[in-house]
Amino acid sequence: MKRSELLSRIIVTVAIVGAIGAPLYFWSRTPLIHARMAENGGWSPDVIQAEVGQPLHLRFTSDDVVHGFAVGQMDMPSVDVLPGKVADISLTFDEPGIYTFYCTRWCGLNHWRMRGTIEVAGASTSPKPVSPPLYVSLNLDIDAPHDALFIPDGKPSAVNGQSLAMSSSISLSQEDYFTQSPYQVFDELKGTSLTDEQRWDAVAYLWQSNTTPESLANGKQLYAQNCAACHGENGAGDGVFANDLNEAGEASMQTMTGAHDMVMQTPVDFTDPTRMLGASPALLQGKILRGGMGTGMPMWGVIFTEEQIWDLIAYIYSFQFEYTK
C-alpha cells in the first residue's frame, strides 16, 4: 500500500472516530435537566439527590416551550427555562427532606403535573415540630358538600359592613375566621336587628378585617401565577385551560362520585356564592393542600408555605366580597 493511501486512511479514520466520539463524549459528560411539557415526559430526571449544606448545581434546558423552575416552600426566584438555552442555578438546603420542584410557567394543558423531587440527605440542624394542618385538626370532610343555604343577591360590601359591625359591636376572632364559613357567620348574625343584606355586608367586613392589603396582594400574585390558568383571572372557572381540560376528557379532569363512577368536572368557579360562602378557610386550606384527589387539581401543600395558602384563601374570598367602594 502506498504511503499516501495509508496516510489518507489514517486521517479519514481519525476524522470519523473524532466526529462520532467527540459529540458522544460531551453528551455523556453534560448533565442537563430537560424540561418538556408534562404530556411529553415533564422533567427528566425528575428525582435529584442532594446533601444538606452542600451546594447543588443544576443546569436546565427546555426541549419544547418556555418552562420555569422553582422549588416549593423555598424562598427563591423562579428560573426561566427557555427552549434550546441552558440555565444554571445553585441551591443549598439547610434541612434534609424531600422537596418538590415544579414548573412555574403555563407550559401546557398538564402543566400542573410537571413536578419532580429533590431528595436532600443529611442530619437536621434544627428539627421543627410537625403539627397537622387545621382542616385535619378539625376533622373536616373536605369532599363533602358545604353549600351556603342562603346567598346574597349581590356582592356584599365590606365598606357598608364596617359601619354596621361597629354599631352592632360585631367582631370575628381569627380562630373563628379560620374555622367558620361566611354562611355560618351570616347565620349566627340572625339574632341581630340587621337585614339579610346588612348581615352579608357585615360578613364581608369581618372577612376583610381578618386579612391585610399585603396578604391580599400576595394572594393575588400567587393566584395569577398558579391558579388563574384553570380557574380564570376573575375566578369564574374559565381559565385559558378550562375548555381544553374539559375537551381532554376523563384523563384530565375527573372527580370520584362513587367507587367506579368517574364524572367530568370543570375547574371550580370561585364566583359561585353557594359553594364559596359555605366554605370555611380551613376547608379551602384542605382543598389547596391536598388537591382534588382524582381531579385535575394538584396538591399544593408541597409547594406553598402555610402563610402563602392563607394569603391565597384571603384573595379567593375577594371574588365574593366587595372590599373597596
Binding site: E5, A19, D64
Partner: protein, 443 residues
C-alpha cells in the same frame, strides 16, 4: 459569450487533478455530516438551536440554492460526503485506483431504474414530510444517516455511484438546475475520445477511477448527470477534458425530451410554491396539516400536494401545448417545453429560499457557539437573539428573482419552441401566471 477554458490555468488544472485538495474538503464535509447526524440524534431537540437543523437546512441550503447550484451547477456533488464511505468501500481505497477485481457485487443498475424517477420519488417523500424534517433534529439526523447508509448499501450492490445517479433526492434537482450554471465539464476534441483506446475516463486506469456517474465524457453534452468529481480529468491520457466557463443556461438551448426530467421540473416548481404557502404563508391550518404527519389533515395535504404536482401544474401546461396544435406527439412537446420551466423553478427556489434563509440566518450564529445545545459558548455568540437579516433587500431581491426567472424562462421557451417549431406563447403565459401566484405567495 464564448467559452473560457478554466483548466488552461495551471493552478486550477493542478488543483483539480490533485486528489489532495478534494480529499481535504471531503474530510471536512464528512466530519460535518457525521456531526450533523449525531447532533440531530443527541443534541437539543429544539430545532432552532441544533446544528443539524441550522447548518443543514439553513446554512447548507442557503449555499446550495443561492450560490452552488446557480453558479457551480453540480459543484456541491463534487464535495458531497454522502457517497464517500460507499465509494471508498467499493473501491477498497481512498486515493489509490481500484483493484482489477470488484470488491462487491458490482451489478449494473436494472434498466428500468436508469432514469430519475427514483430521485423524483425520494424527493417527494422528503417533501411530504418536510415540515417535520425541517424542524425536528432527530428526524433530520435519521434521514441524514439513512442517506449515508443507503449510499453505502447501494455501493456494495451496484457498480459506480448508483445512489448519486439514481436515488439521491438532492442530486435530482441539482442535476436539473445545473444545466443553467455557467460551469461545465466537457471534452476538448471529440475525435480524440473516439480514437482513445480503453476509454480510461469511463473504465478507469492506473491513474484513477472510471466515471462514478456512469457517464462517458466523450458523449457529454449536458451538465445533468456529470457530478464534477474530476476523475476523468485525472484519468484522461490525452488531456482532453476541460472545465469551462460559459454563458448561463447553455444546456437549455437543446431541450430534453425525457419525461422523468420534465416531471422533475414540475415537482420542483410545485414544491417551491407549496413550501412558500406552507412555510411562509399565514395559513395556520395548512401548516398544521403539513406538520401533523399521519393525521387525516396531513393525508389531505399529501393529496393536495400530489394533485398540484402531478395533476394541476402539468395538466394546465398540457392544455397550453394542445393550443399550439403541433403535429409532434404531445409527450415530445411536453418534455421539450418543460425545459422552459427549469430557470423559472430555480428562481422560484431562490426567491423562496431568500425569505427562508434571511429570516433564520441569525440562528447560525447562535448554533455555531452551542451546536449541540449543551450550554456551550464557544465563540461567545450563543445568546445571539433571533433577528431577521437584511429585511430591506428581501422584497426587492425576491422581485428581481421572480421577474428575472420569468424573463429567463420566456427566453428559454422561445428557444425550445423554435427547436420543435411550435408557438412559445402558451408556455410564456403559463410561466407568467405561475410567477403571479408566486408573487402572491411570497410578497
Amino acid at each position: 459569450m464564448a467559452k473560457i477554458e478554466l483548466t488552461r490555468s495551471p493552478f486550477i488544472k493542478n488543483a483539480l487533478k490533485s486528489r489532495y485538495p478534494q480529499l481535504a474538503v471531503f474530510i471536512i464535509m464528512l466530519v460535518g455530516y457525521i456531526f450533523a447526524i449525531l447532533a440531530g440524534l443527541i443534541g437539543t431537540p429544539v430545532g432552532s438551536h441544533n446544528f443539524s437543523i441550522v447548518f443543514v437546512w439553513i446554512a447548507w441550503w442557503a449555499v446550495l440554492i443561492l450560490v452552488a447550484v446557480p453558479f457551480f451547477g453540480r459543484g456541491w456533488c463534487a464535495v458531497c460526503p454522502i457517497p464517500l464511505p460507499g465509494e471508498w468501500l467499493q473501491r477498497g481505497a481512498i486515493l489509490s485506483p481500484p483493484g482489477k477485481r470488484p470488491k462487491w457485487l458490482n451489478l449494473r443498475v436494472p434498466k428500468m431504474f436508469r432514469n430519475i424517477w427514483m430521485q423524483n420519488i425520494s424527493f417527494l417523500l422528503l417533501a411530504l414530510f418536510s415540515s417535520v424534517l425541517l424542524t425536528t433534529p432527530n428526524i433530520t439526523g435519521i434521514v441524514l444517516a439513512a442517506m449515508l447508509f443507503a449510499a453505502i448499501g447501494l455501493s456494495t450492490i451496484f457498480e459506480r455511484c448508483a445512489f448519486c445517479r439514481y436515488l439521491c433526492p438532492v442530486g435530482g434537482f441539482i442535476g436539473l438546475y445545473s444545466q443553467t450554471a455557467p460551469i461545465e465539464l466537457r471534452i476538448k476534441d471529440k475525435q480524440v475520445c473516439v480514437q482513445c483506446e480503453g476509454k480510461p475516463c469511463y473504465n478507469g486506469s492506473e491513474l484513477g477511477y472510471g466515471c462514478p456517474w456512469d457517464v462517458f465524457p466523450g458523449g457529454l453534452s449536458k451538465n445533468t448527470y456529470c457530478g464534477l468529481c474530476m476523475e476523468c480529468i485525472r484519468t484522461c491520457p490525452h488531456d482532453n477534458i476541460a472545465v469551462n466557463l460559459r454563458p448561463f443556461s447553455a444546456d437549455l438551448a437543446k431541450p430534453s425530451t425525457r419525461i422523468d426530467e420534465a416531471f422533475k421540473a414540475f415537482i420542483m416548481l410545485g414544491s417551491a410554491m407549496i413550501y412558500a404557502g406552507v412555510l411562509l404563508g399565514p395559513w395556520g391550518a395548512f401548516k398544521d396539516a403539513a406538520y401533523n404527519v399521519g393525521t387525516s389533515a396531513w393525508f389531505m395535504y399529501v393529496i393536495i400536494f400530489l394533485a398540484i404536482i402531478f395533476g394541476i401544474l402539468p395538466g394546465f401546461f398540457t392544455l397550453g401545448i394542445l393550443k399550439t396544435k403541433s403535429r409532434l406527439p404531445v409527450k415530445h412537446c411536453f418534455a421539450s417545453l418543460a425545459t422552459a420551466l427549469i430557470p423559472l423553478g430555480l428562481m422560484f427556489w431562490v426567491a423562496f429560499s431568500l425569505s427562508f434563509v434571511l429570516t433564520n440566518a441569525s440562528y447560525i450564529v447562535a448554533a455555531l457557539s452551542d451546536p449541540l445545545g449543551f450550554g456551550w459558548n464557544l465563540f461567545g455568540t450563543t445568546n445571539t437573539a433571533w433577528q431577521p437579516m437584511l429585511t430591506s433587500i428581501l422584497a426587492p431581491g425576491q422581485t428581481l428573482a421572480l421577474v428575472g426567472g420569468l424573463i429567463w424562462s420566456a427566453r428559454t421557451a422561445q428557444k425550445a419552441s423554435s427547436e420543435i417549431n411550435i408557438s412559445s406563447i402558451p408556455t410564456i403565459v403559463y410561466s407568467f401566471i405561475l410567477t403571479l401566484v408566486m408573487f402572491w405567495l411570497l410578497l
